[in-house]
Symmetry: C2
Subunit: 202 residues, 2 copies
């Protein structure tokens, strides 16, 4: 076995055990109509994200809550059917909102806020959530790791301040690349640095 | 066994297994000399903290870093031999400082900052740390839970976003009441609410 083969095999074997962590900063998803109100046009991709088809937009917004606001907040594309503002619980406190911990897309009954762009503003009556920590997984990796869509697992992270996250939601889709997503409270609590790995505990 | 006896027994048994969590916000310890510079006098107790003899002072300071500052930061007493500024990693980023994760009192080589009080200001050349998560424990509770001073343990927390903290430092002293201390990154990462309990894993 030559070095390249050995490296490839190692990579495959490691990939059955470990997955890469990513920290998601506060960000906003908007509808196409809201994008037009805020920016005068739909979203412009700036760079792709780890999840296929998803991108960081060039556009930025201000997110206003009853007690505070954040400027220059990232907007992720493509546009969605409903706005969603993903914040950490620390952020929510700054905004003065009580953000529930929810899987992405599950915004029913969550608080609203005001989004301000260079061309206009939009009030959303719900959509501010703290994203439940989750793992995106391709069907192949899910099979290799023995987990299924919507399964709730423990995730051990090999970081500066190691810990084991419980209640981690697994999402499996052919559209997903395999990454565990933490918010910045969680990333700081475990001392995350880019490239850090985790492992799903059975 | 009457109800009061039953309750007392239950409390004792639970106390061998569970301990209460507390979240520590950003705070400052100062020397008596620094207190005089900042406030014109030594610290005035406002209310006692859970650890015997420790108190929240009436005095507040501004903590200034190269990139940002926090106003109205809590000062804890009594005065110490050396200043210490305990922040979360989120706070450190706001200040523009790289705070190492350290046990309290271990500030060698950590970054400094500027403290501003109503009567003056003090530059400290080191002392800004993110406190390593830790458990304060009375000798009796340590014996009951089978742990020793300076032992590093795992702490399972029964919170809204449950997880298991690794690398938790146990400190045992007759001066301590038994509480696990988290910073606000950690508290938010586990969805801590006042009164939540944890358990040391063997």
């Amino acid at each position: 076995m030559n070095n390249a083969d050995f490296e490839a095999l190692t990579r495959v074997l490691l990939g059955r055990v470990f997955l890469e962590l990513e920290a998601s900063g506060r960000h906003v998803h908007v509808t196409a109509e809201q994008a037009k109100t805020l920016f005068g046009h739909t979203l412009t991709p700036e760079r792709p994200l780890s999840q296929p088809g998803q991108f960081l937009a060039k556009e930025r917004v201000t997110v206003k809550g009853p007690k505070g606001e954040f400027h220059e907040v990232a907007v992720l594309g493509p546009e969605r059917k409903e706005a969603q503002v993903e914040v950490s619980l620390t952020d929510a406190r700054t905004l003065g909102l009580s953000a529930p911990i929810r899987p992405s897309g599950n915004v029913q009954g969550s608080p609203g806020c005001i989004l301000v762009g260079p061309k206009g503003q939009v009030g959303i009556h719900q959509g501010v959530i703290a994203a439940q920590r989750h793992v995106h997984m391709s069907p192949q990796d899910a099979k290799a790791m023995g987990v299924q869509d919507k399964q709730v697992v423990k995730l051990q992270v090999y970081t500066d301040r190691p810990l084991i996250f419980e209640d981690v939601l697994v999402r499996v889709s052919p559209d997903f690349a395999t990454y565990a997503h933490l918010d910045y409270d969680e990333a700081n609590a475990c001392g995350f640095r880019k490239g850090d790995l985790g492992r799903i505990l059975s």
